[in-house]
Symmetry: C2
Subunit: 294 residues, 2 copies
């Protein structure tokens, strides 16, 4: 029985007759293969990457498992359509908090079409991609049983200055309920989610070390997902913080050069999260005065 993924925060979404990904109960995620070269490019990437013996296990774990392609009924009712069959990254999670971060100050490859380059360049300049090296593409933060999720408008997240992005990454690891998201974040789970030897920062640093070395793939317009379970954090358990890379429709060949565009954005994200870990409460007064709270 296929259904609409309950925890998708960015990208094309199924429902209301629209084409989008579906999930089943066995933990598989069905992503419609886009009809143009984006679809063939993403399939080419998954096929190449999943059979690339040079990728160490501590890196391949950051990517969704690939199970090939399959013809299934498309979500928009247009009949059988080819889908990529991937690991459902939210399987086993109850109330995941998730942020989708589109990486790179440049979301276009040098060899893309002029029309596509101009479209991306305009968006990179209008959003925080250019100043920050990445932009927030979507987010959901679990509050509690009563308040549910805080899930702001996606476009409202894309063009924030560094201090605002940092504030959102603090809210992400706070115990505030979703109705309390306008208050200053208490940063209650900073150390348990971002910190520690298996926390988000450690995982980002592991990914960084690979990007400093690998010259096979350039990951244009690809996203890092950061996920964890606030419910577990509230109970004092390990919240299962995890990063995953998704969206490979614009991956190109590295041709012997590292992906300095992705890597630059990754270092920028690492710096922001390091600062939050070092001084989680540094901006409380700023937040209070902005919201008139105290």
């Amino acid at each position: 029985m296929l259904k609409i993924p309950p925890h998708q925060v960015a990208g094309h979404q199924a429902g209301n007759g629209k084409l989008g990904p579906l999930v089943d109960e066995s933990g598989r995620f069905y992503k419609p293969l886009q009809g143009d070269e984006r679809g063939s490019n993403e399939l080419k990437f998954y096929t190449s990457f999943s059979s690339d013996s040079r990728i160490p296990e501590h890196i391949s774990k950051f990517f969704p498992t690939f199970y090939g392609t399959q013809l299934i009924e498309a979500s928009d009712g247009s009949g059988l359509k080819p889908h990529l069959v991937l690991e459902d990254l939210s399987i086993g999670r109850v109330n995941p908090s998730i942020v989708d971060i589109k990486m790179g100050s440049r979301t276009w490859a040098p060899e893309a079409s002029e029309e596509y380059i101009q479209k991306c360049l305009k968006k990179d300049r209008e959003t925080s991609s250019l100043p920050l090296g990445f932009r927030l593409s979507g987010i959901q933060i679990y509050g509690n049983k009563e308040s549910g999720y805080w899930k702001p408008e996606r476009t409202s997240m894309q063009n924030l200055p560094a201090e605002e992005v940092k504030l959102i990454l603090k809210k992400f690891v706070s115990s505030n309920t979703s109705t309390g998201m306008d208050l200053q974040p208490d940063c209650a789970f900073t150390a348990t989610v971002y910190g520690g030897s298996t926390g988000i920062l450690s995982q980002l640093l592991e990914m960084k070390a690979w990007f400093e070395d690998q010259t096979t793939y350039h990951f244009y317009s690809c996203s890092i997902l950061i996920m964890f379970e606030k419910g577990l954090a509230l109970e004092g358990q390990n919240p299962g913080g995890q990063i995953k890379l998704i969206d490979f429709a614009h991956v190109t060949e590295g041709r012997g050069v590292i992906d300095h565009n992705f890597l630059g954005g990754l270092c920028s994200l690492i710096k922001l999260i390091s600062e939050i870990l070092t001084a989680p409460n540094e901006h409380k007064s700023l937040v209070s005065s902005v919201n008139g709270v105290n």
Copy 2:
């Protein structure tokens, strides 16, 4: 007594009635203050940086010492003009080999004028800046007393693919004479120039650690100079390999974000130099076949 710098490899050059920098015998370098905002911006940077107490000594050593400004006779005969007074980086060097590497896949700041952005973007796309994260802006490689310097046309260096850039960075540390530059490079001084605890790679890594952390300056269109004395290397002495940062007319405020654009290019350069150190002779067969040698 002011004269034209003997070892300038890029940028505006004095001589033939043109405006360019001059040097004196006491080790000072006089750079004409550009009349537009580039001049005021570069002066602002040197003034701010040289009084910034947060810059540790192991980082400030990568920058030319700043001695203020001075009115001197301009090289183009136009009379007294304000000049930045800087350390002459080639002082004490006899026959330096020098490469000027313009850093970043993007040489324009987000806040630059539309006209300037379009001009830079075009050049970044036409050169190796976009694919590599940097471009070679100029080079001189000392051969020996008889052959002098190999100093190819500057524009011929700017749009090379990664393998060709790597080849030039191998020639840079080879004992080939300047007349033998078409032959395969012997990479004789790879370890002594690029390697070792005080070599070029170590210095680049020291600079990288700072760029991963500092959020004060964004160094658009700035260059790394790499210099050493082949004469000393030939005599088995320490060749004095050194990196320096120059050209700060387009530095902007970091606003709490790292310079991911410079850092990405720096990591790309570090990767290429690491590969040369690991396998200096890997491409000999390619070089031989290209040049019809063997």
